[in-house]
């Protein structure tokens, strides 16, 4: 019992502070001139930010929110982003920008430079999640009146996701001022979510009407809570009429969400499929075309990922900050070259002696993979390396219904398709591709026609390895970059190639996406682990039916 009491009390406190804060902030908006003059209060609030207790910091943030001028905004932003420091010498609060080994300081109260300092002379002012949430709300409310529509758009989201007691009034006034349709729509929704708790049944009904069109799971659960009963047995939503409408709205949203759920599984499946395809595509060349079981295939992916890391570090040191984000583009050819070079070394040094003995290449390349793993471990250390997601592939695109697609995965799907298309075109149209197919189909004849089969073998293997390296660039964006990276993909890659049909690029594509989608549809039903087991069993049983995979060559030629 005491637990709930405590929680209630804390909620009460929050509400109280919020109301107080909104009153104060309204005051601030009405008398900005007065506030700006009162620098003493600003300074006091700023120095309170450096207090030890989070309570004092909270109060200081709220006080700064009341100020609402540019200086307060700058200080709050700095605090939220971890750029606000306390100078140890005079306990003053400064905004610090790192510049190599030193920090350039700015006095938040005046906005002028406060000299430089080393990291030893400064102590970071820590914000916790609660404080950051508060700052987000405060800055959002301030930015609601910004002239920049992008800022307003973000601000609306921030206010809605961190609502306080006064948010409703703010949102309403913002709506009345708003010129952009989409922002106003968002504001309307935000207002409706708040008005759902209004005392006026008419307002509540209007809110329900408004919200019934949405497909946001948060709104759904907001509505669902109106249907619950209070502790005393009465309904949260007292009006039966409204209750019925809420019920109706919930079921409409549910229908839409079910569709979105299917879409989500499909999207996740495609995304997983593209990862599988990337991992397997190099193998489709070395195993599918050449018949070489390359157990070091995973290590080629790993080499690609480590090349990405090295290119990133080179960019970090040599390139201006704006260009840093494009290290990924530079990493693609680099990874291809590195992995292809290793591919040639492996082919010339090892595999070429083993043609026609596929099971022995398996063992030898297993040895190669051990050596490569240990090599990377000795060079880069055993732990994970950080490969940053550049800004342009960070974040997510919301497609409604609580479903969002992360940008990096969209890029991976696109990238994967581009790689496959490029590979297919290369094999089909280039002279080398022709030679490659010729050597695969009839080595003796190709050799008699003057094709240097040894060279073609080496280059084919280099091609497969290089593509694996390129896959490593993409996989470094969503996975560990560690010496074990390759091992995580090797079993899956072989499954995809065998399932799709050895020697068939098309089969590999269909196999990868098929397995990805099946896996993702199974996962919610059976859990992640059992889902994977089921997929493996499906593959094993499927191979019984079609021993050569989905897209196998038929007839006598395939039975050699």
């Amino acid at each position: 019992m005491s637990v709930t009491n405590n929680a209630d009390a804390s909620r009460m406190r929050t509400v109280f502070f919020s109301i107080l804060f909104v009153l104060l902030s309204l005051l601030a908006f009405s008398f900005p001139a007065h506030a700006q003059q009162n620098d003493a209060a600003l300074n006091a609030a700023l120095s309170d930010l450096n207090a030890r207790s989070f309570k004092a910091k909270t109060a200081a943030v709220q006080a700064l929110g009341v100020y609402g001028d540019a200086r307060a905004v700058a200080a709050l932003e700095a605090l939220s982003e971890g750029r606000l420091y306390g100078r140890k010498s005079d306990k003053s609060v400064v905004i610090a920008e790192r510049d190599g080994k030193i920090y350039r300081l700015t006095d938040p109260a005046t906005g002028v430079s406060a000299g430089e300092a080393t990291s030893r002379e400064l102590k970071k002012i820590i914000a916790n999640n609660k404080l950051r949430g508060l700052i987000r709300g405060v800055l959002g409310q301030l930015a609601l009146s910004s002239s920049d529509s992008e800022l307003r758009r973000a601000a609306v989201e921030n206010v809605i996701s961190s609502p306080t007691g006064g948010s409703l009034a703010l949102l309403k006034s913002a709506r009345d001022r708003e010129t952009e349709d989409d922002i106003r729509a968002r504001l309307e929704t935000g207002i409706a979510t708040l008005e759902l708790g209004s005392d006026d049944p008419a307002l509540r009904r209007a809110a329900v009407d408004r919200l019934a069109d949405g497909n946001d799971p948060e709104i759904k659960s907001l509505l669902e809570r109106r249907l619950l009963k209070n502790a005393d047995g009465s309904f949260v939503e007292s009006d039966a009429q409204v209750r019925a409408e809420v019920q109706e709205a919930v079921s409409r949203i549910n229908d839409r969400l079910a569709l979105f759920g299917l879409a989500e599984d499909l999207i996740f499946g495609i995304s997983l499929g593209s990862v599988l395809l990337l991992a397997a595509i190099g193998l489709a060349v070395t195993f599918g075309v050449m018949g070489v079981i390359n157990m070091a295939h995973g290590e080629m992916i790993m080499l690609g990922a480590y090349t990405t890391f090295v290119v990133q570090e080179v960019f970090r040191v040599t390139m201006p900050a704006e260009a840093f984000g494009f290290y990924l583009l530079a990493a693609i050819p680099a990874a291809f070259l590195v992995a292809a070079t290793f591919g040639i070394l492996i082919e010339r040094g090892c595999i070429r002696f083993l043609y026609g003995r596929p099971l022995e290449t398996l063992l030898a390349t297993w040895g190669v993979s051990l050596i490569l793993q240990q090599m990377v471990r000795s060079l880069f250390g055993a732990n994970n390396r950080e490969v940053a997601n550049p800004d342009w592939i960070s974040g997510a695109i919301s497609i409604g219904g609580g479903v969002s697609v992360t940008v990096s995965r969209v890029y991976i799907v696109i990238f994967c398709l581009v790689v496959v298309a490029a590979l297919a075109a290369f094999i089909r149209y280039s002279r080398f591709g022709l030679q490659m197919r010729a050597v695969t189909q009839n080595r003796g004849m190709a050799s008699a026609m003057g094709i240097r089969t040894g060279q073609v073998d080496a280059l084919t293997f280099a091609l497969g390895s290089g593509i694996a390296g390129v896959a490593g660039v993409a996989l470094s964006q969503i996975s560990n970059v560690s010496p074990n990276l390759g091992q995580n993909f090797i079993v899956d890659s072989f499954m995809v190639v065998v399932f799709g049909g050895v020697g068939s690029l098309w089969g590999t594509i269909v196999g990868a996406f098929g397995l990805g989608i099946v896996n993702k549809f199974l996962e919610p039903v059976s859990g992640a682990i059992l889902g994977k087991v089921v997929v493996l069993v499906i593959i094993i049983l499927f191979i019984q039916k079609r021993p050569r995979g989905l897209f196998a060559l038929k007839g006598r030629a395939a039975e050699g």
Binding site: L354, L370, S378, V533, I540, P547
Partner: protein, 380 residues
């Protein structure tokens, strides 16, 4: 004596028999005696570490024999033999788990600790009977055998051969690994079965028990060797080699390749299960780590290194690789994988017949010819 029967005897030459006898004497009498009777500190004392480690190698040797039987003779490379080894081990582990009784941490005589911990209220049906040694021993051969039979029947009937078989057998062991990692599966999840106290009433932490297990394993190795020898020198052995060389020819001769493969694959799985069952009491733990695909691949490498298609080679390979691992992980812990990797590459490239093959070519003077031929082949 006809030519065939002469060849039967020639397979196990007199020198072969003598070698077996010498190894047996060392294994069965000298090692235990040096461990139990020679006082610690003496130059001739063999520490329990070596008895336990050799015991482990012996299990691996049985496993390697099992794998050699199907790969070296019938040409079936299974990359999933860890499954049979592990299942045999689990069957034995379950018996020893049940023997713990109320000496477990939570003191529940009816449930193993991990079940108590996961709030299971009763023993799942597949644990029934494992408090009886005979039942567990039966399961040691039955479970791997049955799995191999079903899996093999599906695969061989559909004529899945070569690389395809290798890869789906890898998928099988991988699936089993994932299933055993799950705690709900009821085999202790990642930690597996551990904390064993005794086997058949013998305290596992006593040196004499360890020596006893070691001796039993040595005898088991001999028996398995004899079984494999009997199989490969029978007409069936010829048939298996024939299957390896020209599978469709065998079919057109009227033999059922499926049945031949199925028989030897199931036999091999059973032997692997026995190896696992002997392994677990000696290392004191069985967990899904035994099902990792890497381990199964490595088993094939033992056979390749020792010499495929020679039973003795499988034993040599298992001892060599595992001995090297024991030695190198202690002496060169940071770089030993380089050595191991290089060894694998070297063996496949320059010793296609493995160590035993090298030994034979040195003896017969074929080595020089072989090298010359090899160089020529590369030039082509």
């Amino acid at each position: 004596m006809g030519p065939i029967s002469r060849r039967l005897f020639a397979l196990e030459s007199r020198s072969g028999w003598i070698a077996i006898a010498i190894l047996l004497v060392i294994g069965l009498f000298i090692v235990p005696a040096l461990n139990l009777m020679v006082p610690e500190g003496s130059l001739f004392h063999i520490s329990t570490f070596w008895v336990a480690t050799l015991g482990k190698y012996l299990c691996f040797a049985i496993l390697a024999l099992a794998l050699d039987l199907i790969w070296g003779y019938a040409g079936i490379l299974s990359l999933g033999h860890g499954a049979f080894f592990g299942l045999g081990g689990y069957a034995m582990g379950m018996y020893m788990m049940r023997q713990i009784g109320d000496r477990s941490v939570y003191g529940n005589p009816d449930l193993p600790d991990f079940m108590v911990f996961l709030n299971w209220d009763s023993l799942p049906w597949y644990w029934w009977g494992f408090d009886q040694f005979w039942f567990a021993a039966l399961m040691v051969v039955l479970v791997p055998g049955l799995l191999a039979f079903v899996f093999g029947w599906l695969a061989f009937r559909s004529r899945i051969t070569g690389v395809y078989f290798s890869i789906i057998s890898q998928a099988m062991v991988f699936a089993i690994m994932l299933a055993f990692f799950r705690n709900e599966t009821g085999f202790g999840g990642n930690n597996g079965l551990t904390d064993f106290k005794d086997i058949l009433g013998f305290n596992l932490s006593q040196d004499s028990t360890k020596v006893g297990l070691y001796v039993v394993t040595t005898i088991a190795l001999l028996l398995v060797y004899m079984i494999c020898r009997a199989v490969v020198s029978s007409k069936l052995g010829r048939l298996l080699i024939a299957v390896r060389d020209a599978e469709s020819r065998v079919r057109f001769l009227g033999y059922s390749v499926t049945n031949a493969k199925l028989f030897v694959f199931t036999l091999s799985a059973v032997l692997a299960g026995v190896a696992g069952a002997l392994y677990v009491p000696q290392v004191g733990i069985i967990n899904p780590g035994e099902f990792t695909p890497a381990k199964s691949i490595e088993m094939a490498i033992w056979v390749a290194v020792g010499g495929r298609g020679t039973l003795f080679g499988a034993i040599v390979g298992a001892f060599t690789i595992n001995g090297a691992r024991t030695y190198l992980t202690g002496v060169a812990p940071e770089v030993w994988l380089f050595f191991l990797g290089a060894l694998f590459i070297l063996v496949t490239l320059v010793m296609p017949q493995g160590l035993v093959g090298v030994y034979r070519s040195i003896r017969s003077g074929e080595l020089k010819d072989a090298i010359r031929r090899r160089i020529q082949r590369v030039d082509v």
